[in-house]
Symmetry: C2
Subunit: 243 residues, 2 copies
C-alpha cells in the first residue's frame, strides 16, 4: 500500500516538494493498521524497525512511570497527517508507548525506507527533521502552559490547540470536533487529578465557552477561549514559509 496523501500534505504545508521528492514518497510501501480505543499501537523499547503515521482519529504518547503506582503521563497528541514516532527512527527506540484515543487508523513505514531517504534525498530529510522539530515546539508550548496557566486556562489551551490542529487537516470545522479523551486521560495529560479536570470542564461550561457532551465538543466563544488560554497558534508552524 502506498503512503497516504495526509502526510504529503503535511510536508507541503512546510515547503515545496519537487517531483522527485513526491515520487519517492509515493513509492514508499506502507502497512495499514486499525486500532481500537485504548489499544497500544507502539510499545516502548530500545529497538524499533518501523514508525507510524496517523490517518484517522487521535493518538497519544504515554509514559508509564516505574514503581507500580499506576501513574502515567501523556506528553503528546497526534492528529491525521502526523508522523507519530519518527523520532524513534533517529534515536534508538522509544521511551514511551503510543496509544489510540478513540478508534484510530495508522500506516507503518519501514525504517529501511527512511534510511534510504536520508542518504539520497537531503531536502526530504530536512522536511522530516522539521516535522520532528514542530513536535518539540509543541512540547515547549505545553511546558509554558503547564508553568503559567491554571487548570481552567490550561484545559482551554489544550482545546484551542486540538481544534486548530484538527481544523488544519480538515478533521474539524464550525468550532465543533470530537475528542474521545476521557477525563482521566486529560488528567494524565494536564497533570491534575481526574476530579480537578472535571472542575475545569465545569468552569468552561459555566463561563459559556464550550458545550461538551461526551466526546463531542462545540466551542461557543472562540475569542473568549483564546483569551482565557492566552492561545497563540504561532508555535504550530502553520504558515508556509519556504526554507
Amino acid at each position: 500500500m502506498a503512503i497516504s496523501e495526509y502526510f504529503i500534505r503535511y510536508l507541503q504545508r512546510c515547503d515545496h516538494l519537487s517531483d522527485a521528492d513526491l515520487a519517492r514518497l509515493r513509492a514508499m510501501p506502507t502497512r495499514h493498521y486499525q486500532a481500537a480505543p485504548g489499544e497500544v499501537i507502539v510499545e516502548p523499547g530500545p529497538k524499533a524497525s518501523q514508525s507510524c503515521m496517523m490517518l484517522r482519529g487521535i493518538s497519544a504518547r504515554l509514559h508509564r512511570l516505574k514503581g507500580r503506582s499506576g501513574q502515567q503521563v501523556i506528553t503528546a497528541l497526534h492528529v491525521p497527517g502526523d508522523f507519530v514516532d519518527l523520532h524513534g527512527f533517529v534515536l534508538n527506540g522509544l521511551s514511551h508507548a503510543v496509544i489510540a484515543i478513540g478508534p484510530v487508523e495508522v500506516e507503518f513505514v519501514d525504517h529501511s525506507e527512511l534510511v534510504e531517504i536520508t542518504r539520497n534525498y537531503p531536502h526530504l530529510t530536512r522536511l522530516l527533521w522539521r516535522a520532528t522539530l514542530i513536535d518539540a515546539e509543541i512540547h515547549r508550548q505545553w511546558l509554558v502552559a503547564a508553568a503559567s496557566l491554571r487548570s481552567n486556562a490550561h484545559l482551554a489551551h489544550l482545546l484551542c490547540e486540538i481544534y486548530t490542529r484538527l481544523n488544519v487537516v480538515g478533521a474539524a470545522t464550525d468550532l465543533h470536533f470530537s475528542m474521545p479523551l476521557l477525563q482521566r486521560e486529560l488528567a494524565d495529560l494536564l497533570g491534575y487529578s481526574p476530579i480537578h479536570v472535571n472542575r475545569a470542564v465545569r468552569d468552561l461550561r459555566d463561563r459559556g465557552l464550550v458545550r461538551w457532551v461526551g466526546a463531542e465538543i462545540t466551542i461557543l466563544d472562540w475569542d473568549g477561549l483564546v483569551r482565557l488560554a492566552r492561545f497563540d497558534p504561532d508555535y504550530l508552524d502553520l504558515g508556509r514559509e519556504p526554507t
Copy 2:
C-alpha cells in the same frame, strides 16, 4: 576560529565519526562570543542566520509571555557541548530567547555551513538531527516531571539532571557543581512562585540531601535525591549505541 572539541565529543557520544565527517566539522568556521550573566545571547525572531554552541557555563531558553504581566518560562537548559539553537536552523527562526545563566562562552556557526553539511554529509546530518531529538526527549521528561512530581521532588529531579549532564561533559565531579540559576529563575523553570521554590530548597536541605550555598551545590545523598525525584537518566541518551 575552528569548532570546539566539546561538540565533537558530544556527537561521538552518540555514534562513530568517520575521518571525512571529522575533517568537515573541524573545517567549519566559528565565531567566539562571551556573555555576561543574564545577557541575551540569541533574540527570538523569524529569521536566524546562525546558531550557537555552548563552550562554558549554562544557558537557558526563555519564553517571554505576551501581555506585559512580566511572566516568563524557561523551557530548556544547556551545558557545554550542547548545540543550543540548532532547531532554529531547520525551523524558521525561534519562538524564544537564549539567555546566559552566569558567565557563558559560546561559538556561533553560520547556517550556510549547516546547509552544506545537510546536502553532502548524510551521516553527520543524522547526528545533528539526533542532537535536536535528545533535546525533545528532555522536554518530554520535563513534562513528565511537571505532571507527576511535587515541588521538592521536581526540584530534586532538576538537580539530578543538571549534575548528570555537567558530569558527562566533565564540568562537575564529586557530586559538587556550580549552578548560577537564581531562585527566581528556578521558579520560571519549574512553574512555581519564587517563594515556593525557596520552600523546596529548604526541604531538600532539611532532608540532608544537598548542601546549597549561593550558586555552589553539593549533593550529600545522591541515592536519596534520585529516589525522591524518581530520576532515571535513560532519557539523556548517554549510552553510545551505534545507529
